[in-house]
């Protein structure tokens, strides 16, 4: 019996997330395991950092494990002088979220992708804002 979906690897899932976020219209920069935009030049906004923050494993069989992969997508947004920062921030969050949930199986690598919450930096000031999308990706692996 071949898997219907859900048997994957963390590396392939992260690579899929990067591929998907790269397709968000207007995005300039996507990287892994970063927190702050400090040092990034303005031409790299908007950007997204894909951070894997936790993995919970549950052994189902000798060679089958259910993985709960916690991911934080950190988004950085820059508004031009004549743009409304919050409007731009919300639009960017919506675009990223829509891309991520369009295929919750991460190209058949995961059982599901669940967006748990989205937080924004209430202290954001023009021209820069940030947001964090916390998600849980459930996948199965042999190791």
């Amino acid at each position: 019996m071949s898997p219907y979906y859900g048997l994957g690897t963390k590396e392939n899932i992260l690579a899929n997330l990067k591929t998907v976020v790269d397709t968000v219209e207007g995005i300039k920069f996507v990287d892994y395991q970063r927190i702050r935009a400090a040092g990034a030049s303005v031409d790299k906004y908007p950007g997204a950092y894909i951070n894997d923050i936790s993995t919970d494993k549950e052994r189902l069989l000798k060679d089958l494990i259910r993985n709960m992969l916690g991911i934080q997508l950190i988004l950085w947004i820059w508004a031009a002088k004549d743009e409304d920062l919050i409007t731009k921030q919300n639009a960017f969050i919506e675009d990223v979220k829509d891309k991520v949930v369009a295929d919750p199986t991460r190209n058949s690598q995961a059982y599901d992708t669940i967006i748990e919450n989205i937080t924004t930096d209430s202290g954001s000031r023009h021209p820069q804002a940030m947001a964090v999308i916390n998600m849980m990706i459930i996948f199965y692996s042999e190791e």
């Binding site: 019996m1 071949s2 898997p3 219907y4 979906y5 859900g6 048997l7 052994r59 189902l60 069989l61 000798k62 060679d63 089958l64 059982y111 199965y140 042999e142």
Partner: protein, 142 residues
Amino acid sequence: MGNRGDVLAALKTVLEEISEVETVVRVLLSDFDVTQYAMADLPLIAISEPAEGTFEEMIGQKSVMELATKLSIYFLHWGISPDVTYKALIKAIRDKLGANFTLSETAVECRVAGVSIILGTMPVYNFAIELEMKYHLDETNV
């Protein structure tokens, strides 16, 4: 005439002949841990140690004994609904026991007393089949 050991050994042999089943084991339920088995071992049937009692006392130190056991059946299903696999396994097991209800003449009868709903979560599911078996015991030979 039969005995408990022969009945259970015959039950295991009969269940091993089911083509859809990969593994059959006899277990103490308290010892059983499905995580010790691999994907290739499933579908797996675990035969738990049965409860035993006298069904009917007969003359001459002979009696009909009753064994009540539970088959725990574990299977893999990667699709949306495991119902198809669940039903196929129930049918295969019931057909096999129905075609050999004396368990190779070690028992008077072996019948299905009940089938549970599907338990577990994707992709490892399980369900239980309650079995009742009877055999003639000749205590003069014990």
